[in-house]
């Protein structure tokens, strides 16, 4: 077990357990924020596992998750928009924390792969993930502003 896998284990314990706790209880808005955070945690874990197992092909998992994870959160934000009636309390802090965690993982992965197409791919995954996370989180904190409007679109 190398340092990458140790980091992945620590990130799993420190990240996924609060996410499971957060999605299982509390107001609906908080649960969606926790789900959004879970996408980022698992995407970073996938990057770390790809390095830890020395399998560059495993970064495809992180790529697909970075594309589809925020889309899933936006699906929740869209179809539950009538019920997200409370501003998520820790929304901003959680998003800032996950985006801040993205940077060191991406930089370390790039440093380990060296310059080349693989490094560009890792940076691309990091940018997609951070952008998706921020957009999804902003949508969630904006959804509470017109809670009475029920959409039938």
């Amino acid at each position: 077990m190398n340092a990458w896998l140790v980091c992945a284990s620590l990130l799993l314990v420190a990240g996924l357990l609060p996410v499971v706790w957060g999605t299982a209880r509390g107001p609906l808005g908080h649960r969606v924020v926790a789900q959004n955070c879970g996408t980022s945690v698992v995407c970073l874990v996938m990057l770390l596992l790809a390095q830890g197992y020395e399998r560059p092909a495993y970064t495809d998992l992180a790529l697909v998750l970075a594309v589809l994870g925020p889309v899933g959160t936006l699906v929740f934000a869209r179809l539950l928009s009538g019920e997200l009636d409370e501003e998520p309390r820790w929304g901003r802090a959680v998003t800032a924390l996950t985006v801040a965690a993205t940077a060191p993982v991406v930089i370390a992965s790039c440093a380990a792969t060296g310059p080349g197409r693989a490094a560009v791919k890792v940076v691309f995954i990091g940018v997609l993930l951070a952008a998706g996370n921020v957009i999804a989180s902003r949508t969630l904190s904006g959804a509470h502003r017109n809670p009475t409007e029920t959409r039938y679109d």
Binding site: A57, L63, V64, L68, L74, R78, I135, T139, Y152
Partner: protein
């Protein structure tokens, strides 16, 4: 056939299966052991056909016939859903109201749509090299199209998604898999045999013989099937209402 007779036939079948299953179990390799007789043979066969991703070689070369079965299951279940979720006589179609989507979400969805499409096609095209393949990539492509629903509204999605075309694509993907299988038969070996075209160079896009071609047909089938499936669900949830006075 009476109920009693049917139960007897079921019992005979179940007993026969149980006997064969119990006879096979003792000869299975131990859990977590070092010897993997099937794995070694599968890896050898995959490398002989120059396929880097052994899972793709198992799915589309060594056991391509099983994948035909899986593909047909998806095809049949989507067909069943289409029949079940059709618009009945007591229901009417209500045009959906346009949705107000925050500008950042709209921009993000429209920017991400081409990226997600390319990622899906990349996953399909690299099925013989890295994790992924027709099924995974097809689902990503279909999800990418529905970013239009997230970023705009249902009417925008309906404009670029003629369901009829996707239904034809669904059937064409399924048919193309069969045709590729028959090509193996015509070429002189067996159904779905990987002998139609050359194996190419190991670890490049053009490798693995018919594995990438089968991946493409499956990708087309899955993408179209998921679009048709979601179209039925969206119609029911967004457009179709029961007649009042029900």
């Amino acid at each position: 056939m009476s109920r009693r007779l049917r139960m007897w036939i079921l019992a005979v079948g179940a007993l026969g299966f149980a006997a064969l299953f119990c006879a096979a179990c003792p000869r299975l390799p131990a859990f977590g052991g070092d010897s993997h007789p099937y794995g070694e043979r599968a890896v050898r066969a995959a490398l002989a056909h120059r396929t880097a991703n052994v899972v793709a070689a198992v799915n589309f070369d060594q056991r391509a016939f099983d994948t035909l079965g899986e593909e047909s299951i998806l095809f049949a279940s989507v067909l069943g859903t289409v029949v079940l979720l059709r618009q009945t006589r007591e229901e009417r179609e209500v045009p959906p109201a346009p949705a107000r989507v925050p500008l950042p979400v709209r921009r993000y969805a429209l920017l991400l749509l081409p990226v997600a499409l390319v990622v899906g096609l990349y996953v399909v095209a690299h099925g013989q090299l890295s994790p992924g393949g027709g099924f995974q990539g097809g689902v990503v492509v279909a999800t990418a199209l529905h970013l239009l629903y997230i970023g705009a509204d249902y009417r925008a999605l309906e404009r670029v998604r003629p369901v009829g075309v996707y239904e034809i694509g669904d059937a064409a993907g399924e048919g193309a898999y069969l045709v590729l299988g028959l090509a193996g038969l015509v070429a002189g070996s067996s159904f779905l045999a990987n002998t139609v075209i050359g194996y190419g160079t190991f670890n490049t896009l053009a490798s693995g013989g018919i594995v990438p071609l089968l991946n493409m047909t499956v990708g087309m089938e899955v993408a179209c099937a998921v679009v048709v499936l979601l179209a039925r669900f969206l119609d029911q949830a967004v457009e179709i209402e029961e007649e009042s006075g029900r």
